[in-house]
Amino acid sequence: MGSRVETALALAVLYGLDGKNECRVVSISSTRTSLLSAAYCEVVGRFYAGAVSAAFGAFARTLPVGLAADGKIPGDTPLLTGPLGRTNPDGSKTYPHGIETLIDTAAAHGLIRNAFTAQHDQNATVVLAGPPANLLQVLTLPGSKELITAKVKELVCAHPQAAKELEAAGWPTPIISVSPSVGSSVLFPLSTLGKEFAEFPAHPVADALKAYGKDAPTGELAAVLYAVRPGDKAFALSEPVGKIRQLMLVPAEKDRLLASYIELATAKPVVRQPRFRRPVVEEPKKPETAPAKP
């Protein structure tokens, strides 16, 4: 998170789908070794607070964010510093978060593995928007391939190179790889800032788009949407080569697809009722009333 604006938009689409009960977001990780990258993921999670789910969502908390700590993709970018540096008129942060040091994040491989353990068989889909470092690390954990085989239906990679690396490392499920042309053939319009996003006083994904400053490619959005709506007529799959099938767009569906992206990315957060017992609030005692006189 932080290299491309489409990753932020894809996260917004994912939470939009979660809000429609079409999926549950159970784990979020970033391969960028940047606390701001994790902080941004948490900020988006908080924005959609209530749209998080699984064990953590049950207690109305945001998901812990997995973060690569290997330093291979270091650094903060304007896409992160822009939204996270935004302040309110009183000087307070517009998007407060709880990630100050590395210990506020989780090691990504353990976090992803733990998320798999809590899923029904063949009911999880993994979306990989960036490089495969975190998933490659998951594969090094003992028993992980068996676990992935049991729990994960398929892996959707937004970038072909990542798909190839994971296949080579022995990723056990079918892999869908978004064709490079998909992202550039439909662009997410900057103009949404003045329209759909304008309804929000502050929106971290809109701020990332603002920092980017132009229409954004949508390859990662396609990965998310296909993962949740594999039957969407906008998508077509190639014949598999090894484990990998290419995801392509149906040209006639481009306008409808763009409308879906905009609708989902700009959807309002849906607050779910937490399932835990709320603290008991003592009700003020009613004043005793004198018995009615006969």
């Binding site: 210990i103 989780a106 353990g110 976090l111 593995r113």
Partner: protein, 448 residues
């Protein structure tokens, strides 16, 4: 030329039906040996488990790194040993979570605690995994009389439903010899005493009571060996032997007192023979015996289930008639939270007394605590919400001069507690690549 005669580490005091192992004497060290010689002093490992989570508000020191200011309320009894204490934050037991198995966090968290495996939800065909203490016991246990000791204070039922369909085998045991075989804790101090020192362990309660009436001290049976040994020891070792035998005699006295009291006190619940009615007395008796077992290198591996997971034991001793488990579902009511904290403190007071005792027993240039790793903790953090992350974990002791205490170390979120166990197994010279749900070994414990 060196002519000093060395005493075998396996020397015992023997008498009719009795064999008493001995503590580490200077005379047992090879000539010119020092405590820096690798393998000179055994490292011990123990796990002390308290149920129903801990009030984390009064457990976690505010700052990471070296302790600053007073320790939090619950840890206060450890104040005099603060440099021996390391608090580990953010460790998680993922396999204690529901993971699609529904209710039963108490059963799961205890069954998973030392096994790192999600226990099978069942009351019949139980299944978890071999616990880390037993992996160590399998490796180092041949060097001691008992590969491991399993001790508890409350309930050792092994059958029935103890939590939403989870067998009592999960809530009432910490140690698992195999994935289907838990090792029930010994609750009866007399049974533990006789296990350690022999004499009538197989007798039924009536015969034991009859024998107790005419009992002499176990030390009387080994008088001959004791005198002979005293002649072979130097003044320091002689004093050490006297102290050691006195501590055994003191345990005997406590046992006799407990048995006498039991005849007069009706605790209101079935208790095994010889279990003191008083909780702190029971705690002290059991830990005194573990101390002797450590001192005499009878065992290096101990699990201690203070009370069973999910227990509803009341603590009338400290003015709390409510059950522990219902109290932990306090719904943030201050008066209930306060009682939970007091129970947590009460447990810690007992534990701290034991730690003081271990620290007071010299062993070479260090003491038994310095050569031990005692983990104190629970399988839940917040007992109200049944949370399995950021567990309360304290490690006490220097692990044979390998652990730097006096500080809090916070790990990244979701770090498996199994990573701690791997690091502890390393210190027990048990090198295995993988355990439970470990993703590696925790770092930061080392002296440097």
């Amino acid at each position: 030329m060196i002519t000093r005669k060395t005493l075998s580490r396996r020397t015992m005091l023997r008498g009719a039906g009795t064999a008493i192992a001995l503590p580490f004497f200077d005379a047992m060290a090879p000539a010119l040996a020092s405590s820096t010689v690798p393998g000179g002093k055994p490292v011990r490992m123990a796990f002390v488990y308290v149920p129903n989570g801990i009030d984390m508000r009064h457990w976690t020191p505010k700052e990471d790194g070296a302790f600053v200011g007073d320790l939090p309320k619950i840890l206060k009894p450890m104040e005099s040993m603060r440099q021996d204490v390391t608090i580990l934050s953010n460790l998680t037991q993922n396999n204690g979570r529901a993971l699609l198995d529904g209710a039963g966090d108490h059963g799961r968290c205890c069954g998973a605690y030392l096994t790192g495996i999600q226990p099978r939800k069942t009351m019949v065909d139980i299944k978890a995994g071999i616990s880390c203490d037993q992996i160590v016991a399998n490796h180092v246990g041949k060097q001691t009389r008992f590969p491991s000791l399993e001790v508890g204070l409350e309930d050792a039922r092994q059958a029935g439903d103890c939590d939403s369909g989870y067998s009592c085998a999960y809530t009432n045991n910490l140690a698992w010899r195999s994935e289907t075989q838990p090792l029930p804790p010994v609750l009866d101090p007399r049974a533990l005493f006789e296990r350690l020192f022999g004499k009538g362990a197989a007798l039924n309660p009536e015969e034991r009571a009859r024998q107790t009436k005419y009992r002499r001290s176990i030390l009387d049976y080994v008088t001959g060996d004791t005198k002979k040994l005293q002649g072979d020891l130097g003044p320091t070792d002689r004093r050490k032997l006297d102290e050691y035998l006195s501590s055994i005699r003191e345990i005997e006295r406590q046992l006799e007192k407990a048995e006498k009291d039991n005849a007069q006190v009706n605790p209101g619940m079935p208790k095994p023979y010889g279990v003191p009615a008083d909780f702190s007395e029971h705690f002290r008796l059991m830990t005194d015996m573990i101390t002797v077992a450590f001192q005499a290198d009878m065992s290096r591996v101990v699990t201690f289930l203070v009370t069973r997971e999910g227990t509803s034991r009341p603590y009338r001793e400290i003015g709390i008639p409510d059950g522990h488990h219902p109290l932990t579902h306090h719904m943030n009511k201050p008066e209930l939270l306060d009682k939970v904290t007091r129970i947590n403190e009460y447990h810690m007071v007992q534990f701290a007394k034991w730690m003081e005792k271990l620290k007071g027993i010299k062993e070479g240039d260090s003491n038994i605590l310095g050569n031990s790793m005692i983990v104190y903790g629970a399988g839940l953090s917040d007992g109200n919400r049944h949370t399995h992350e950021n567990l309360p974990v304290m490690i006490v002791g220097g692990g044979g001069n390998t652990i730097k205490g006096g500080r809090r170390i916070t790990y990244r979120k979701e770090t498996p507690i199994s990573n701690l166990y791997l690091a502890m197994m390393d210190r027990m010279n048990v090198k295995i690549e993988h355990f439970g749900d470990a993703t590696g070994r925790i770092d930061g414990l080392n002296l440097a």
